[in-house]
């Protein structure tokens, strides 16, 4: 490995100018748990951004949640703001992510940019409709995370600093499910589902499935199936079956496409059932 310099950026401007000066041979470093596993042989300079003023979790005026890029996963798990948001949905998601010593280092920004296809955080953020903000040489930009992942985002973050993640307020409930070989392992499949109910009918639905083994994607056909219907056990089971048909699944060394197609119905149904129980207040 050829790491020659380690910088401690004091603010976003400094981080960005260092990053640009390296012309592709520098890497922003937050918790560093991903970079430490293999920074890439072309990386010469590490730019630590954990003291660059990108911390902090707060509620915005519309009761959404704003999380700074360098907030650690454990800070999120233990924060009051996250517990108060959607009945602690994010607290629950973070509990499923890796183990405590890893969560004490790993940051939300690092999770968004590393975007492992098997990761749990992108699945939850996509279901929630997260919007991310970043700074590049010219300006500050924002985009829904779902849209950013359709762009060459790794190239974008070689010349930009992700600054925050914004989660909108939702009048409903979300639930997260993960299947893995043991509690600390990465997912064989994961899913995040949200439901809003009005006058006994589903007013909106959000369904995202990840680790398929591809990065999380929303299943809009399943969402459409749910909206306007009463959230009965039959409907949620049908949504699970439709999810297996709609999701793009594949083989990897951990599980086969066939296995994934067989498990998705139960996983999606369970998450929807929990969300439905919580919406009705009888969780």
């Amino acid at each position: 490995m050829a790491i020659r310099r380690y910088h401690y950026a004091r603010d976003v401007d400094e981080a960005l100018s260092l990053l640009l000066a390296y012309e592709g041979r520098g890497a922003l470093l937050a918790g560093g748990v991903d970079l430490a596993r293999g920074p890439g042989t072309d990386v010469e300079g590490l730019i630590d951004i954990t003291a660059a003023g990108l911390g902090g979790i707060s509620r915005d005026a519309k009761k959404g949640l704003v999380i700074g890029a360098t907030v650690t996963l454990e800070e999120i798990r233990t924060s009051r703001e996250a517990r108060d948001y959607l009945g602690g949905f994010l607290t629950e998601v973070m509990r499923h992510v890796a183990t405590l010593p890893l969560r004490c280092m790993a940051t939300l920004g690092g999770a968004v940019v590393s975007a492992h296809p098997w990761a749990d955080i992108p699945t939850a953020l996509i279901a929630l409709g997260a919007e991310v903000a970043w700074r590049n040489e010219e300006r500050e930009e924002r985009a829904p995370l779902e849209e950013l992942y359709r762009r060459p985002f790794r190239a974008i973050f070689r010349r930009a600093v992700l600054t925050e993640v914004r989660l909108p307020a939702w009048g409903g409930a979300f639930a997260f499910e993960k299947v893995s070989r043991n509690a600390g392992d990465i997912a064989l499949l994961n899913c995040a589902c949200g439901l809003g109910v009005k006058d006994g009918k589903v007013a909106w639905a959000r369904v995202a499935v990840g680790a398929t083994p591809y990065r999380a994607a929303r299943l809009t056909g399943v969402e459409e199936l749910l909206v306007g219907e009463s959230p009965s056990a039959e409907l949620l089971a049908e949504a699970g079956r439709k999810a297996a048909a709609e999701a793009k699944v594949g083989d990897d060394l951990r599980a086969s496409a066939e296995w994934r197609r067989a498990v998705i119905p139960a996983l999606v149904r369970r998450a929807l059932e929990r969300a439905a129980r919580e919406v009705k207040g009888d969780a």
Binding site: A36, L46, D48
Partner: protein, 157 residues
């Protein structure tokens, strides 16, 4: 590059390589309780406390220690003067080969620092990121519960 940090209560000012891992730095400084198992963040044998919170030293760049407080097992007790957690591990038979023990004790220390009366379930969750290939975990849970009981009675430091 040179960095200042506090290691087990002592000020250090040491030369490090910019890409060096905290695991390698600590072992270089003689902290041989910090064990290298997997080097990929999965086994927990390299766990140390950074400002009181457990981290994987194999996935932590040494440069991150700058200005912070690092605690290894050497900072809790010594063979001549065992920490109550070390005593409890010995008494309950929670140590076989001992490779996982430093990491186990440090996560247990962190747990008891904010939860002096944990349930067995909470102990299991706290140690869930640390693998032990020998004991089967039951005695480790017993050891932490015994140490917690003694801590509540004032036997602690």
């Amino acid at each position: 590059m040179k960095v200042y940090f506090e290691l087990n209560g002592e000020q250090k000012y040491v030369e490090i390589k910019p890409g060096e891992r905290l695991l390698d730095l600590l072992r270089r400084l003689g902290m041989k309780s910090v064990k290298e198992g997997c080097r990929t963040g999965e086994c927990g044998s390299c766990t140390v406390l950074l400002d009181g919170r457990p981290v994987r030293s194999c996935l932590t760049f040494a440069a991150k220690a700058k200005g912070h407080r690092i605690t290894t097992l050497e900072g809790l007790g010594s063979p001549e003067d065992l920490h109550p957690l070390q005593e409890a591990f010995l008494e309950t038979g929670a140590i076989q080969c001992g490779f996982c023990t430093p990491g186990m004790i440090l996560v247990a220390y962190h747990l008891l620092s904010h939860n002096p009366d944990p349930t067995p379930e909470e102990v299991r969750e706290a140690i869930s990121g640390n693998l032990c290939r020998c004991t089967g975990y039951a005695k480790i849970v017993d050891a932490v519960l015994l140490a917690a009981e003694r801590k509540r009675k004032g036997d602690w430091r």
